[in-house]
Amino acid sequence: MSEQILPAPTLVWQTLLELGEDELWWHLSISLQRLAWGLLGGVISGVLLGALLGANPRAERLIYPTFAALAQIPTLAWIPLFMLLLGIGEALKLVVLIKAIIVPITVHTLVGVRDIPPRLYEAAAVLRLPPYLRLWRLVIPAALPSFMAGLRLALATGWSSLLAVELLASSEGLGYLMVWGRQLFMLDIVFVCILVIGLLGVALDRGIQFLDQRLVFWPHPATAEFRRHAGGRGWQRLQPWLLPLGLLALWQLSVQLHWVDANILVAPLDVLHTTWLGLLDGSLADAMRRSLGRALGGLLLGGGLGLLLGTLLGLCHPAERLFGPTLSALRQIAIFAWVPLLTAWFGLGEGAKLVFVSLATFFPLLIATQRGIAGLSPQLGEAARVLRLNWRQHLLCLVLPGAAPAIFAGLRLALIFAWLGTIGAEYFMPSDGGIGSLMIGAQQLFRMDQVMAGMLLIGLTGALFNTLGQLIEARATRWRTA
């Protein structure tokens, strides 16, 4: 491979030394600061939101589909609106970071809180624990393992989003340095950044893991029942529409009352009109088809691999010791930093895009699966051993069903990441049509109606995916609602 694409280690080392003498540490400190604030904000808000959704089925029905749909819309499309509301200072960067970090935290907290063993929940109810004790003695310890998985992903997501953030009105930070290095085709600088981020990421990741092991010292009880119907019954099925409708009303209102510049926030009707036109002339529909193909293909490939490798690492401790650190280092590396290597290896066509999306969906499922397997009840594990199940039965009767709730949490995230990855791939790689290219093009001319038409479609598909995912989850874990 060409030395420009994959610079020799010695060159990278030399660059590291050079940069290390002056600006590197400065960039690093700024990035760390941003990351810290972003994590703080994202984790706090994610935990609150996740806990609310997890504890309250109605809240989940009301809010989660909208949350998932909004999370799927790439940051890039939000930026004009964010800028209008937040200016271009640190607040904007913080919000963009938080938007990225909140997603894994919310999803994993939601699942953790939702899956509190109902028997313990009842015990707490009967003991009439006051709310703070219920939180402190029941909810937090029970949701902790799941939350930790979310935190590990959030860390990686945080690093990745630094890139996007530091392109926004910033001339400092590791993310900036990395993009700048790539712009100027000095990939040795990019590699130095990757190295620093990777090392720091591993350190932080291992820290979290250590904390996880210290904090979660009890064997996990077998989660059995789960007295909830995710989709709701009867008119409850309509509840997910309430929030979007409310938002729509707010949107229309703010346009009508001129709260927001109509150039930036286009009226809903205009957006619908543009969407309709786009669908009619086939441009939107075609772009959607292409993007959907990439997203689904990547999800299947990356998610499948993540599931497979997660199962392997979860079941086989030597494998975890061998690959764990490397994988957690790789995870921290902003996915965009992969682009040069991916195009080198997989060409300029669909292949590289597929791999790119796969990469985005790989880690959520990897981590979730690993977490799910680590959280298997040791009592049931012993039962399985004593019954001398062979590996296949072990997998089918113990591991997969036991880890299913966690795996589905990973799937929820992977669905979101698949979309984000698709848009990213269309942005960073040779364009070949797709909803992402379309939106970027529209933004070039500041056609916000088209951008928002794209957002609308992505959001709708996201909501659809999400419903589908929940249906599959409900079917696959039928025992919990039976």
Binding site: M1, S2, E3, Q4, I5, L76, I79, P80, M83, L84, G87, I88, L167, L168, A169, S170, S171, Y176, V179, W180, R182, Q183, L184, F185, M186, L187, D261, N263, I264, S283, D286, A287, V339, P340, T343, A344, G347, L348, E426, Y427, F428, M429, P430, S431, D432, G433, S437, L438, I440, G441, A442, Q443, Q444, L445, F446, R447
Partner: protein, 318 residues
């Protein structure tokens, strides 16, 4: 020569399109719609692969390094950066010169000249041709980036920031005209007003490997390119050209009309690697080195490989 004939010629182009079709602007779109290369090489069983890249510069250089493209139509900085970082590229032809850059300002801000920008917030995408051209523009007025508050924003973010009035001005190309036409920006100044300082040049570069191995093909390519160039340089084709680009790039044709209003297509698309053009390039190299966009400068003369262009132009004049 015993070198086997390649199956395909791969040409990289930055995608300027805002729609679902691709557009590289200028000579590229003419070449493509008239299928000039395709016809030229059809007889040899060689296909032509057009590769369009968004956010072009870095990706195309990477593709060069990966041996995934043979030729590229590039803006000056991207080409310079590639060369400066050790890519073996050859400067084969100029494809457009003095492409206008604009200063876009918030309507009613009262900014008329670059000097008015002192202390103001100006968005520039750092590490791109725009930064370089902006620096050149400032340089021509004796200003420095330090004199203003330069904010790093990519094009789309800069557009958004301008619309949201979060910045006072930005430096960019024809997409700013789109903002102007919608009343979101004023364009008080372009590089034309600065005697071309801050304008952007466009070139055709080829990979050294391909050029050395297939000089004949390269020569034929440049010769074929002349067909498009000739069509383009014919002022009578201006409306047709505007229509073509508007269609491919999904730009409103008024934008392009405005952009090209006082521009002579004959001058704009002159392919010659003449002294003036090379000086402009050399100046950019110096500037880039000074701004630390490249590690060290180089001599443009050593980069030029105008054998094929001369051949093409010579044959034509005969």
């Amino acid at each position: 020569q015993a070198v086997e004939v390649p199956k395909e010629i791969r040409i990289a182009v930055p995608d300027l399109s805002a729609g679902s079709q691709h557009s590289g602007g200028g000579v590229v779109d003419v070449l493509r719609t008239q299928r000039i290369f395709e016809q030229e090489f059809a007889a040899d069983g060689i296909t032509t692969q057009w590769r369009f890249f968004k956010g072009a510069g870095p990706v195309i250089n990477e593709a060069f390094a990966n041996g995934q493209v043979d030729f590229a139509y590039l803006g000056d900085l991207a080409a310079i950066v590639g060369k400066a970082n050790g890519l073996d590229t050859r400067l084969l032809s100029a494809t457009a010169r003095d492409i206008k850059s604009y200063l876009g300002v918030v309507p009613g801000s009262g900014i008329k000249t670059l000097a008015d920008l002192k202390g103001k917030r100006v968005a520039v995408f750092q590490g791109t041709a725009h930064q370089l051209s902006f620096d050149a523009a400032l340089d021509s007025q004796g200003l420095k980036e330090r004199d203003l508050q330069v904010i790093n924003l990519d094009f789309n973010a800069a557009t958004a920031a301008l619309a949201a009035k979060q910045i006072d001005a930005t430096w960019g190309t024809s997409n700013l005209v789109a903002l102007q036409s919608r009343g979101l920006a004023e364009l008080p100044l372009s590089s034309n007003d600065l005697n071309g300082a801050g304008s952007i040049q466009q070139v055709l570069v080829g990979s050294g490997d391909f050029v050395d191995r297939h000089p004949q093909l390269t020569a034929r390519l440049l010769k074929a390119q002349q067909k498009a160039v000739q069509w383009l340089r014919d002022e009578g084709n201006k409306p047709a050209y505007v229509k073509l680009i508007a269609e491919l790039a999904s730009y409103p044709s008024t934008i392009l009309q405005t952009d090209l209003e006082n521009t002579s297509l004959h001058a704009l698309f002159a392919p010659q690697l003449d002294q003036a053009f090379l000086e402009r390039l050399q100046h950019k190299v110096h500037l880039a080195a000074r701004q630390r966009l490249i590690r060290k400068g180089f001599d443009v003369q050593g980069w030029v490989d105008d054998r094929f262009l001369k051949q093409a132009l010579g044959q034509q004049s005969q």
